[in-house]
């Protein structure tokens, strides 16, 4: 069985908020140089979900695919250190800066080049943009069924079954392979990379492709545009309640909320 996991490298979202700012001239987000690179966390959960299948099913190969412009090898190799088998990198600034559907098109082209697969697993949404478009769009482009926001994943022969949270509970849905699943953090803890895994990952040579390697990608008009990018106005108007002690403040709060009839 072959599972392809897509992974995006992003600026570490745990970095202090002050590390991020807006460049109004270019309508882009500026990230301080001190912010380390990280794998978008939902993609780590996707890798974990793939590796759990690999744990159960003999002869499973997990191939990781990442589109970016400045991959940090130690970071993007993390899924390998966790137990994935091979790594494909598409490195091109224009392609990486594309709108979500354009990115899905690029990934689809790369996947056709990678070859046969049974399952594609993606994070449900990226840590920097949170759009949740690429995985679903990729499935539509490849013409395979898609199941999203999996909180539980089970393989039943040549069907993949997932649980997904809906407004009033959980839906269980399934798709015949080949299919695409997007994965959410509720599947549970991502495994640590072992020392052995890290050493093994160091030796793996990623396959690196540029725009030309992928063949002609049709330049079309953008699917969406950025009209404006800004930090929302902070209209902070907090009333701090300060007593002689924390407990006293708590009492003041109770009185205030009662006064205002909020509770």
């Amino acid at each position: 069985m072959r599972i392809i996991v897509t992974a995006k490298q992003v600026p570490d979202p745990e970095a202090p908020q002050s590390s991020f700012s807006v460049d109004s001239a270019t309508n882009t987000v500026l990230v301080a140089g001190s912010v380390p690179a990280a794998i978008s966390d939902m993609d780590s959960y996707a890798a974990e979900a793939a590796l759990r299948i690999k744990d159960e099913v003999a002869d499973t190969k997990v191939s990781v695919l990442s589109l970016g412009k400045d991959h940090v090898l130690d970071v993007i190799k993390r899924p390998l250190a966790m137990g994935a088998d091979e790594l494909f990198l598409i490195q091109d600034e224009d392609l990486a800066n594309g709108d979500a559907i354009a990115i899905a098109n690029t990934l689809a082209t790369a996947i056709k080049k990678i070859g046969e697969f049974d399952l594609i697993m993606c994070g449900r949404q990226s840590a920097d943009l949170d759009q949740g478009i690429v995985g679903t769009a990729l499935a539509a482009i490849l013409g395979i069924p898609v199941l999203t926001n999996a909180v539980g994943v089970r393989l039943n022969d040549d069907w993949i079954e997932i649980d997904r949270i809906v407004e009033d509970g959980i839906d269980t849905v399934a798709a015949k392979l080949p299919a695409l699943v997007t994965v959410s953090n509720e599947i549970g803890a991502v495994r640590y990379a072992t020392m052995r895994g890290i050493m093994a990952a160091r030796k793996v040579q990623p396959t690196i492709w540029g725009k030309e390697d992928l063949g002609v990608i049709e330049e079309t008009d953008p699917f969406t545009t950025v009209v404006d990018l800004f930090a929302p106005e902070n209209t902070s108007n907090v009333e701090m309640l300060e007593g002689e002690s924390a407990a006293d403040s708590g009492r003041l709060l109770a009185q205030k909320l009662r006064e205002e009839r909020l509770i």
């Binding site: 709108d99 899905a104 840590a127 478009i133 403040s249 109770a254 009662r258």
Partner: protein, 331 residues
């Protein structure tokens, strides 16, 4: 090829066929667009037994209701609902398609966009028209910044943030056209299937419906400590306990309590933010709250910038005294 026209809303219905509130919210979003464009609103009603509710859609403001009513669509499935929307869109030829950014809407949107060879923006609000095209605003960088998105291709497709708009009051007895649409789909040849649905077991009030939410963060410290939040629900009427993703991932509670950019989106009257920093990924789920009350021992915590009232202090000192005082004021 005639010009695109109008706004098509993809409705969502409950099992019994009633329109879900998100559908009303989409009407609220669409009505401003409809006025700016001078173009009508139509609705796609997909499911089983939904034809009976076409008038409800008309009463919300739909000039046309496209109905796909068949047992194949009894439960949402991306594979079948995408085909239904494509069939409807090819008849309606809308300028704009709106869906809710719900578990199903957010999945349906990109599939439809790819099939219609157009772009999509998700989890949007602040919808407006500029030069005959949709503009919509969404958050990025974990909720820190906002982006106004433009749509060069038609139809313009957007999923709309839940509770970004208020459900409008329906009118009564409006008139509209109901159009039944047949979808060419072979039920025996699907590559996906709906297996089953299990109801959430919620003790007490559902978080999304609670008037008051008591949310604990990673600073609660542990599962036992987190559980003390339930003491507050015994004294504060109409309240429910919730959690940040950090608290849920640390297994202080179940994942179903999670509020945030990947969890539930709520807009209660009062939101207690206890021992949570107020990181933007969390605020994305609760910024619609009318009154945020923050209790945190870190004076620099971001949550204080977002709240109406704040107390700096260890919750272990603040909350018991707060509770006792409430009980006193009661009696």
């Amino acid at each position: 090829m005639s010009q695109e026209n109008g706004i098509l809303i993809i409705a969502e219905s409950t099992q019994s066929g009633d329109l879900k509130p998100i559908t009303g919210e989409l009407f609220a979003a669409a009505s401003g667009l409809s006025e700016s464009l001078g173009e009508p609103i139509s609705v796609a009603l997909i499911g089983q037994g939904v034809s009976a509710k076409a008038q409800d859609a008309i009463n919300l403001g739909a000039s046309k209701v496209y109905v796909v009513d068949n047992s194949i669509f009894q439960n949402y499935l991306n594979e079948t609902y995408t085909e239904a929307v494509i069939s409807i869109a090819s008849q309606a030829n809308p300028r704009i398609i709106l869906m809710g950014h719900t578990p199903n809407g957010r999945e349906l949107g990109p599939s439809v966009a790819v099939r219609l060879e157009t772009g999509i923006a998700t989890d949007t609000s602040g919808l407006s028209i500029s030069d005959g095209k949709l503009e919509a605003t969404r958050s990025l960088t974990g909720g820190l910044f906002r982006q106004k998105t433009g749509f060069p291709k038609f139809p313009n497709i957007a999923t709309v943030h839940m509770k970004a708009y208020d459900v409008p009051e329906p009118s009564a007895g409006l008139t509209g056209e109901v159009i039944e649409v047949t979808v060419a789909i072979d039920a025996n040849n699907l590559r996906s299937k709906f297996v089953n649905h299990s109801e959430a077991v919620s003790e007490g009030i559902k978080i999304e419906d609670a008037k008051i939410i008591i949310c604990g963060g990673r600073g609660m410290g542990g599962k036992e400590e987190f559980d003390t939040l339930y003491d507050l629900t015994e004294v504060i009427a109409e309240s429910a306990v919730a959690a940040t993703r950090a608290a849920a991932d640390s297994e202080f509670c179940g994942q179903d309590l999670m509020i945030g950019i990947t969890g539930k989106v709520v807009s209660p009257e009062v939101y207690f933010a206890i021992a949570l920093s107020g990181a933007s990924q969390h605020m994305a789920g609760c910024s619609g709250s009318k009154n945020i009350i923050a209790i945190n021992k870190d004076p620099e915590a971001n949550i204080f910038k977002e709240s109406k009232y704040g107390v700096i202090g260890d919750y272990k000192d603040v909350v018991p005294a707060f509770l006792d005082e409430l009980k006193k004021l009661e009696g």
